[in-house]
């Protein structure tokens, strides 16, 4: 492998970081007041940048302001022409259809089964391989208030404060009170979290949290949760289809509720019709939309499909005018730009430092605030410019071993160590260059505490549930670290339980139609949406321009 490391011009700058390290190790940087935080956000956070958003012109939330990239997806033609789909032949006739195989989808499927649905009456469909998701990439940890010094009350206050007080509070209550139970569930499933010899969890601080509350599995927390859930799912013999995304929901014209989905075989191009008494959307986030032009930390399939499908059947959308830009994406090397450098590095003490070696923000402020501070630092000329013209500041990784003893990095951050050593950068010796990356969809389709998807008037859409990153409300306008893994399991579980209940209450199979598209299509026509703009997009297209220009679609 090519092990190039830093070019010499950048390497030279490292000495300024080293020069101030001793000093910085001694005295902690001060925290900002609420007013200072607000000012920093307003001036520098991408959410406040003019020209990046617009009000929606179609659908049930007409007038709601969302990012342009989101509006483009919602103001787009369906992939299918309703007249060409034969709904009389049902390929999959099930009780519960789960869309997505991240943590939320797998938890939902399992809890539907625990709540009485027969495993063979469940169908899980997923876009890529089973488990390819944002969940598998989660590194830092998961929040649960279990230590005696901590409490669900403090977890609640941290979460709503971090969310700029815009969270749906009953969802937050569910989050903080279910989480200790979820940890117990994961224990029972054999998940391995970092523990002290006496069994107590090793818990570290997350940005914006007032207690050490983050439970980690090295820096493979999401991988550990995902693979344990996946094993359990496979042991139950639940039918599942890989490389088969859902591309549109089906509705019963009688009550407007959901009754199944149209599925698409990514390899053969064939469509399938699935009928279900309850449908759970667990399609995750939207990083691959590259909102506001940012690179992303998300997996390849994070394209917001679930919001698109849900919106077309009438779901309310909340907080899609705000996204989370994680402060520490990789700025160099270019090959992995945008990939994540986990917040756990900062939890363990790594500080953010500008080109002069000066610290400019406490590393454990909330993510929106830290990102804004980094963007400001670079915009005002105190960043470092990489050979490809990208900008970044230093994250002083070697501090971790100095603070917590040699070997800490390799033991607690093996994924981070690998990510950089593969490119010739040894993070036990050298700081890394970092810049915010598009990380998390703060909002989404609105759910209630039963994971039911709501219309703008607050009524649940019959038989439609959602859980995980696709859902909106719980995190308000900014999610705290470790609260997403928490949210996907809390609301995935609740979705599974509600689905089982819905199945029991639904005696006759709901009818299948694409009626909801009629009005939507009329609206698209009336605002003149170009025909080639279609959604969901399923996967981003990164093919080289040169090839695309000469591409003939004849085979």
């Amino acid at each position: 492998m090519s092990m190039c490391g830093y070019p010499s011009e950048i390497k030279k700058l490292i000495k300024y970081v080293e020069e101030t390290r001793e000093e910085r190790l001694k005295k902690p940087y001060r925290r900002l007041s609420l007013e200072e935080r607000e000012k920093l956000l307003k001036e520098w956070h991408p959410d406040y940048k003019p020209g990046t958003k617009r009000p929606l012109r179609v659908g049930v939330c007409k007038g709601t302001v969302v990012y342009n990239e989101v509006a483009d997806l919602l103001e787009a033609w369906p992939l299918i022409d309703p007249d060409q789909i034969d709904l009389s032949k049902v390929d999959y006739d099930v009780d519960v259809l789960v869309i997505g195989s991240g943590g939320a989808g797998l938890a939902a499927a399992l809890w539907a089964i625990y709540s009485g649905v027969s495993p063979d009456a469940v169908l899980l469909v997923t876009k890529l391989r089973l488990g390819d998701s944002n969940t598998v990439k989660a590194q830092g940890g998961i929040q649960a208030a279990d230590r005696p010094e901590d409490s669900p009350i403090l977890h609640f206050i941290d979460t709503v404060g971090g969310g700029l007080f815009a969270n749906k509070r009953d969802l937050v209550e569910a989050l903080v009170t279910d989480m200790p139970f979820i940890m117990k569930w994961l224990e029972d499933l054999g998940a391995m979290f970092d523990k002290n010899p006496d069994g107590s969890y090793v818990e570290v601080s997350g940005g914006g949290a007032c207690r050490r509350r983050l439970h980690c599995a090295r820096d493979y927390t999401g991988l550990e949760i995902l693979r344990v859930l996946r094993e359990e799912f496979l042991n139950h013999d639940v039918p599942y289809l890989e490389f088969t995304p859902a591309i549109e929901l089906l509705t019963d014209p009688e009550d407007g509720g959901v009754s199944g989905a149209v599925l698409y075989n990514l390899e053969t191009g064939e469509y399938y019709v699935a009928s279900a008494k309850a449908v759970i959307i667990a399609t995750g986030g939207a990083g691959r939309l590259h909102i506001a032009g940012f690179p992303t930390s998300n997996h390849y399939g994070a394209t917001m499909d679930g919001v698109v499908m849900g919106y077309r059947v009438g779901a309310n959308i909340v907080h899609l005018d705000t996204f989370q830009f994680h402060p520490t994406g990789v700025a160099f090397p270019e090959a992995i730009r945008g990939e994540l450098i986990t917040e756990k590095c900062r939890s363990l003490g790594a500080q953010l430092v500008n080109v002069h070696g000066e610290q400019f923000i406490h590393q454990l402020e909330t993510r929106d605030v830290v990102s804004s501070a980094i963007i400001k630092e670079c915009a005002e000329g105190r960043g470092i410019i990489t050979p490809t013209g990208a900008m970044g500041v230093w994250l002083d990784m070697p501090m971790i071993d100095m603070l917590r003893g040699p070997g800490t990095i390799k033991k607690a951050l093996p994924a981070m160590y690998r990510q950089f050593i593969r490119h010739g950068i040894d993070i036990t010796q050298e700081p890394v260059l970092t810049y915010p990356t598009l990380h998390y969809q703060n909002g989404g389709i609105e759910i209630d505490v039963f994971s039911r998807v709501l219309r703008p008037n607050g009524e649940p859409i019959p038989r439609l549930l959602a859980a995980g990153e696709v859902g909106g409300g719980v995190h308000g306008r900014n999610r705290l670290m470790g609260n997403s893994l928490a949210g996907i399991l809390v609301f995935g579980r609740r979705a599974g339980i509600t689905a089982a209940k819905t199945v029991k209450e639904t005696s006759t199979r709901p009818k299948l139609s694409l009626k909801h598209l009629e009005k939507y299509i009329e609206e698209l026509k009336s605002i003149g949406v170009p025909r080639e703009r279609r959604s969901p997009i399923l996967l981003p297209d990164y093919r080289g321009e040169k090839v695309l220009l000469r591409s003939l679609r004849i085979f």
């Binding site: 950048i10 609420l34 010899p197 390899e267």
Partner: protein, 240 residues
């Protein structure tokens, strides 16, 4: 203190050096420094198989390659490793490694059980091919040997960073299904052998008994100003 910023000439940005790679035998010219995934996309491939997280976590992108004039079969992750001039490569679309079903609740944490479910473990010839093949740099053979000895704790620790890419199993002369075995061993360790968490049960009981209900109810009703006050007056616990 004044520091000269790194300046980069525009030419360098606009005209990257190109390298030659051979994708399943066909030659493509791609910019230096791209990951294998990005190089494939640059060349015009739309990825569906052999890709997932794009960050080194999911194991979907096991890649085999050789370099001209070398007999050695090399291993990479397409999302993590960058192209090299002259690479002959294939990204594996799939690795067939069927698993054995089990019920964790009714398992006994002993080695006999792992061997019963995956008897091929006994056939390990200690050739170390798996270790040499692992893109995560894990001591794969040592883990298999630990399982044979009955040291599940050690095996769980050694294989914790396994991303189940399947490369070791595709290379193993004993046809061992490593990743599946490792999943099983870690779950046995996690459930039956790791120390039980302290505090957790107590907190669950408190919640079930309604200890926080009233206060949470108040917080749910509180005005934003009240919440802001509470938020601002939090005492932040020092790091350890």
């Amino acid at each position: 203190m004044s520091v000269a910023l790194v300046t980069v000439s525009r030419r360098e940005i606009l005209q990257p050096k190109m390298v030659k790679i051979y994708v399943m035998g066909r030659e493509y010219l791609v910019p230096e420094g791209l990951t294998i995934h990005k190089a494939l996309e640059y060349a015009g491939f739309r990825l569906i198989r052999g890709v997932g997280c794009r960050g080194g976590f999911c194991g979907a992108c096991a890649t085999l390659y050789r370099k001209p004039g070398e007999y050695k079969l090399r291993i990479a992750l397409a999302c993590q490793n960058v192209v090299e001039d002259g690479m002959y490569l294939v990204v594996l679309p799939y690795t067939p490694i069927p698993r054995v079903k089990y019920k964790l609740e009714s398992l006994k944490p002993d080695v006999g059980l792992v061997l019963k479910l995956y008897p091929e473990i006994a056939r390990c010839v200690a050739c170390n091919t798996c270790t040499k093949a692992c893109p995560q740099g894990l001591q794969v053979m040592d883990a298999i040997q630990a399982i044979k000895r009955g040291d599940l704790a050690k095996a769980a620790d050694l294989t914790f960073d396994c991303i189940a890419c399947g490369i070791c199993s595709m290379r193993c002369p004993a046809e061992i299904r490593h990743a599946n075995i490792f999943h099983l061993v870690r779950r046995i360790y996690g459930k039956y052998m790791s120390p039980k968490p302290r505090h957790l049960e107590d907190r669950i009981k408190e919640i079930e008994q309604g200890k926080y209900r009233e206060e949470l109810e108040k917080l749910k009703q509180a005005s934003v100003d009240e919440l802001k006050k509470l938020y601002a007056s939090r005492v932040i616990e020092p790091e350890e």
